[in-house]
Each structure stands twice: as C-alpha cells, then as structure tokens.
C-alpha cells in the first residue's frame, strides 16, 4: 500500500494520490456506471458506432497509403503498342525505347501472353476471359523498367511521344487516381467521424451530468468535510474512461475478426502487383490499441466537459 501515483488536475497542484484512493475512485466510478442504466447503454452504443467507423476508415486509409507508397517505388511502365503497328514498327519502337536515358530493361510481351497473365491474375473469375482467346482484344506490350523509381514518370512521358504507342501505363498514374480517391475518402470519413465523435462525447457528458446531479448532495457534503476537488472529480473521470473503453470492446473484436478474415481472403480475390494489405500482425493489433485509446479519450473528454460545467466549486 506504499505505492503512490502522481496526478495533476486543473488546479495545477500536483499531489501524491495513494494507491488505495485510486482504487476507491475506480470503485466509485464503476458504481456510477451501473446506476445510470439506459444512459450508460446509449453512451456505450454511441462510442461503439463511432469507433467501428473509425476503425474501418483507418484500415482503409492506412492500407491505401501503404499501397500508394509501394507503387511509388515501382519502376515498371507498360507501353501498349498500337494495334495497327506492323512487326517492323514494333521492333523499331523497342529500339527507340531502349535508347531513352534511364531505361534499364525493355521486354516484349505479346497480347496472348498478356491475356493469359490477366486470366491467371483474376483467379477463378478470370476463366470468363478465356472466351477472348480466339479474338484477343488486348495490345502487344513493351514492359519497360526504369533504373530508379524517380525517373519512371519522365521515361513514360518520353515513350508516350513515340510513334505507334497507344498508351503508357505506370504506377504513378494509378497512384494519382488512388490518391484522389483516398483524399475523398479521407474528407468524407473525417467529417463523419468528427460528427460521431462529438455525438459520443455529448452523450457521455450527459450521462456524467446525470450522475453529478444525482450525487450533488453527496458531493456537497464531501466538500464540507474537506474533500479536495480532484478527489471529487476522479470518480467521474473514471466513469467516462470506462464508458469509452467499454464502447471500444466491440470495435476491437470487429477489427481483429474482420481484418483477419479480409486479410486471409483478400489474396484470393485480388492478386495485383501493388495491392497488398498490411499484415494482420502487427497492423490489426496496433489499430485495436489505437481504437481503445480513442475510446478512452472520448470518454474522459466527455466527463471533463460535464465536470467543468456542473461541478462548480
């Protein structure tokens, strides 16, 4: 019982809190949770909804970021050759590409080859593409590799200027689209989440307000017998933190279960060069930890708001 914790509350006074006092605050805060029935339930539900969205959003954004970073490191440029080009023109194009500064490697891939790669990459669903084997709609392709990732874009632009080139595809372009999508996703997700976070904070602060009002006589008497403000406030902070943490339990379960499922099935659905999910371990654990902390912060924030407003001393 000798253990002491340092804590600091609004007043700016740092006091040593005895360990058993901390236990007392936790006990009181827990009791409050059970006293408030429905409001407790509503607060927890609001935190849960919010955090599930936060989790989905973070999983999406962080994975997209990771993919974008992977793609930026990519040096590969697919040069789609005009279908009208004859064999000589194709060979000539290959030579011209090889002469561009910074090109490390040029490789020809026929349209048949491209189709079989496509069918393979699509897995089971790819079988649908087999019907095109007689009448291949794809182009012949030069797969060009830049020596360093920074030059990919410059090289691609130069290739695009050459004759008999229908189109060039390279990671950076995909990245830009991805980033654009990512930015929209961010903006919408963020607005939604901020709204939900404030709803959750509001509900928690309301719950705590009810507790404070229900206990106002008790609080008044505590003050008269010499309780410090922080002694009176602590159980409410505990109550808020507990509401937040209880609200984050379901989201954590969703993250661990959901991400495990998606991570293990994703590879079967999409098997694309850049598109690779962040590994379950440690990503899902980190995300869970983050969600738990966000939940606790929401809870404490809600209680701080109410304590400030209704616990005037």
């Amino acid at each position: 019982m000798k253990m002491e914790l340092l804590y600091e509350i609004n007043s700016g006074v740092t006091t040593a809190m005895k360990f058993r006092t901390l236990l007392r605050h936790i006990r009181e805060g827990t009791k409050n949770i059970f006293r408030n029935g429905w409001m407790t339930f509503a607060s927890i539900a609001a935190v849960t909804t919010t955090l599930i969205l936060v989790a989905v959003f973070l999983a999406l954004v962080l994975n997209l970021d990771q993919m974008a970073r992977n793609i930026e490191q990519d040096v590969q440029i697919s040069t789609l050759i005009d279908v009208t080009a004859d064999e000589d023109q194709i060979v000539q194009l290959g030579e011209e590409i090889e002469q561009i500064d910074g090109v490390a490697e040029v490789q020809f891939s026929s349209n048949d080859n491209e189709l079989s790669k496509l069918i393979e990459s699509m897995g089971d669903e790819g079988q649908a593409w087999s019907m095109f084997e007689q009448d291949n709609p794809l182009n012949h392709v030069y797969i060009v590799e830049a020596g360093v990732p920074e030059e990919t874009e410059v090289i691609a632009n130069q290739i695009e200027e050459l004759d008999n080139v229908e189109n060039v595809l390279y990671g950076k372009e995909v990245v830009e689209q991805l980033f654009q999508f990512n930015n929209y996703a961010r903006a919408i997700g963020l607005a939604l989440i901020i709204g939900l976070v404030f709803t959750a904070i509001f509900l928690i602060s309301n719950t705590i307000k009810i507790t404070i009002i229900a206990r106002s006589t008790e609080i008044g008497i505590q003050k008269l017998v010499g309780a410090t403000n922080s002694f009176i406030r602590w159980p409410f902070f505990v109550e808020g933190a507990l509401l937040g943490i209880l609200g984050s339990l379901a989201p954590v379960a969703v993250i661990l279960g959901g991400y495990y499922y998606i991570y293990n099935n994703f590879a079967n659905v999409i098997n694309f060069r850049f598109v690779e999910l962040l590994p379950f371990d440690p990503f899902a654990w980190q995300l869970s930890g983050m969600v738990l902390v966000i939940g606790a912060v929401i809870g404490v924030w809600g209680s701080v708001m109410s304590v400030r407003k209704f616990l005037k001393v």
């Binding site: 005895k18 008497i221 008269l224 010499g226």
Partner: protein, 228 residues
C-alpha cells in the same frame, strides 16, 4: 484560533445577517453563541468554515486569512474544523458507520485507522449498536449524534456545532454535552450555537449573544439571558 475584524455579511437577497462583528476566540475555548431565531448565529458559523464569504471584514481561522485563502486550499481549512450542521447533512443511503467513515475517507485515512477511529467515536456518542442502520431508521436525536460523531472523527482543532442538542431529550443532551466537554478538555476549541437556556446556565462558559446581526454581549461564564 478564530479572529473576526469588522465582519459584515449581506446575502444576495439584501438581508444583512451580520453587521460589523469583531471577535476573538482562543485555542481551547468553549463558546456558546446565543440569540433569537434569525439573529445570525448560523451565518456567523458558516463564515468560519468558509461556506459563506464575508461581504466586508477580515477573518482568520487557525492562522489562515480567509480572504486570501485560495479556493483549492479550502478543503484543508475544513479538515481542521468539524461541523455539526443544524440539518445534520447525513447521506441517506449510507449506514451510520459509513456516514462517519466518509469524513475520513475523503482525507485518505488508511482503512485500518478508519475502522478503529469510527468505532471509537460511535461508542463515544453511544451509537455503537446502531452502526449498520441508515439515517431514516434513526430518531432525530440519534441522527444528530451521527452528525456529531462525523464532526469529531478526524480530531479537528475546532468543532462548530449548530444547535447540537436541538432535537434531543434532556438526558441525551447531557450526554452530548459530556462528549463536547470531553473533547474540549483535550484542547479542541468548541463553538456551539444553542437555544438551550438550561445548558448554558448549567455548564457555564463564555457566551456570545447575537441580535440582529450584532454582538450585544460577550461574557465569560455567562448566562443564557433570554426568557423563553
């Protein structure tokens, strides 16, 4: 121990409860505050433990200048003062034992000392057999004794009692007085507002009489002085 210099208290509704009071009470004194209803006795008491602030004047309690006392230091002032409230202020959901222990919990006393000390004071006020009851199961006098037990449980330097015998039969009143005299003899300052002529005239102590917010008499070993 307690000094007031030219203290006035006007409530926000315009009622002046105390008007230019100056008084000095020494450590270890036993003081009766007497006066008709509405004279300002409770207001005088509330100023001492800083439940109310004076409108004018200076108050010093146990070496603290209350006008300069920071909000966050008020709890420490109150730990030096045990108050028996006119309306008891007991927590209705807690048992007798818990109500008394409460005053020690907030000042972070160890559970073992709490248990020992609470049993001690409950015995002192004669309620050891009822420690598991809640206030609504007690008589008015018994509730008052719980309030007294809570006020003295942390050995405060000053005990302020606002009509501690108001609801008690004569026998119990004398027992309560014995308790107060007992802790006074151990050096605790006692300030007691009372309407009991009988007590004041029997246990002779300093008497401060307040009428209409003014001290009209301050007498060592005084009488009650009012005919009721």
């Amino acid at each position: 121990m307690i000094t007031m210099e030219n203290v006035s208290k006007t409530y926000s509704n315009g009622v002046t409860a105390l008007n230019d009071i100056s008084i000095h009470i020494d450590r270890g004194e036993f003081v009766y505050i007497v006066g008709p209803s509405g004279a300002g006795k409770s207001s005088f008491i509330r100023l001492i433990y800083r439940e109310a602030k004076p409108t004018k004047g200076k108050i010093i309690v146990s070496d603290r200048d209350l006008s300069k006392l920071k909000e966050r230091h008020i709890p420490y002032l109150r730990r030096d003062i045990g108050v028996v409230f006119q309306d008891f202020k007991l927590l209705q959901k807690l048992t007798v034992y818990e109500n008394v222990a409460f005053a020690l919990e907030v000042i972070e006393t160890s559970p073992r000392s709490i248990k020992r000390r609470v049993q001690e004071v409950l015995k002192l006020v004669g309620l050891e057999a009822k420690e598991k009851m809640i206030p609504s199961e007690l008589s008015g006098g018994e509730q008052q004794r719980v309030a007294i037990a809570r006020a003295i449980v942390n050995n405060p330097k000053v005990v302020i009692a606002d009509e501690p015998t108001g609801n008690l039969d004569p026998d119990t009143s004398w027992e309560i007085m014995k308790v107060l005299e007992d802790i006074n003899s151990k050096g605790t300052t006692i300030i007691m507002a009372t309407h009991s002529k009988h007590i004041v005239n029997t246990i002779k102590r300093r008497v401060i009489a307040i009428e209409d917010g003014v001290i009209v008499r301050d007498q060592q070993r005084g009488d009650y002085g009012y005919e009721i």
